[in-house]
Symmetry: C3
Subunit: 155 residues, 3 copies
């Protein structure tokens, strides 16, 4: 059997695995936050979710939208739109054998930018806080894509 | 040339590849279900999609939303929110060299939970069926992230 | 330390990395397009985004939806729904040691289909242009999943 653990002896790979796992845990936190606000504010999207809070017409009034919940959902969707490219391009960049410190710098900046983006979205902080956080994360992914394609482009 | 097939001789990797492919096929099924209900119920989001069903004002009335279609779309989005972390954390966990039976147990429970989640969402089954299915899948991903980070954390 | 660059000497892997990076860059372009139309058309989802365009009631009127922006967002979400399965199944298919020309043909058709899908969605072109583009991309992913599972199924 192949010893896969040798891949995990590669420093860039270990770093990518760590940052990717943390950024995904941050993204999963958005699901919990949505559920928390839906429960505490009694704001639901499905009739079957309301039945614990009353019957018939009483329950139906909880089928509504709420600014707070919609804000978290937008932040969550923005996470997906940005974290999917980071993961896809990031793992390929990692496997292309980049310099350790350059790679780790990319991962660190991306993680910081996305955490700041979440804080800026949920507080909310005045613009351009959120826009800058978005652009920094976007720039990191573009930079990894450029370095990857420069090294291995094969069409 | 490198013989990549050796990676596929690793049992955990083969198992992850199998479960990941099946869970993604399940997620792709949601696209088909949305298209099916849009066509049979004549519920569309784009003007150009309605032209086969009439002209001008007659076609425009099909630009509407429908409970059934919106329900599938919510189930689909929930899949994306949960399957993306599973895939990202799961492949890294797989490469960190876990015990075969522990890893396969994680994958099996996740697949079962997500299939049950889809059934609970689309039937719909009364709560807490869907909530529990969501939590089980969420817990599996958290467990893989914990095991991965405990072994390789490198920041 | 393990020399990861050997993975990048594998032709199928280099091809997958190239196509995956390009398709993700195309998907990231949708974020830029959304931001561009939100700014030029003054259509925002968050109160804090409008403050540069006036104060109080004047700013609030920019909290609205717009056909153009919603169309791009639907195209973006459709990208996510289709590109996530392509990436997940695609990398596993790549690692299962497929024939180079067969694999590259899959990647090329998928990239072409998704670019055409975006053009058909944003122009918009009359149906069935967009539907066919969607189906071709969907079929490529199904074909890779079938070839992968036929070779390595391990449950």
């Amino acid at each position: 059997m192949v010893d896969l653990t040798q891949l995990m002896e590669n420093e860039v790979f270990m770093a990518f695995a760590s940052y990717a796992a943390i950024i995904l845990l941050k993204m999963m936190f958005m699901s919990s936050a949505t559920a928390f606000y839906r429960m505490t504010r009694k704001v639901f999207a499905n009739p079957e979710d309301c039945t614990g809070f009353g019957k018939g017409e009483i329950a139906k009034k909880y089928l509504r939208t709420d600014d707070r919940v919609e804000r978290i959902r937008r932040a969550h969707l923005n996470d997906i739109e940005n974290i999917v490219p980071f993961l896809g391009i990031g793992i390929l960049y990692t496997l292309s054998g980049p310099d350790v410190s350059t790679a780790v710098t990319h991962f660190r900046i991306f993680l910081g930018a996305r955490i700041y983006h979440t804080i800026a979205y949920l507080t909310p902080l005045p613009q351009p806080n959120r826009a800058l956080a978005f652009l920094v994360g976007y720039g990191v992914t573009l930079s990894m894509a450029y370095r990857l394609l420069k090294k291995i482009l094969y069409l």
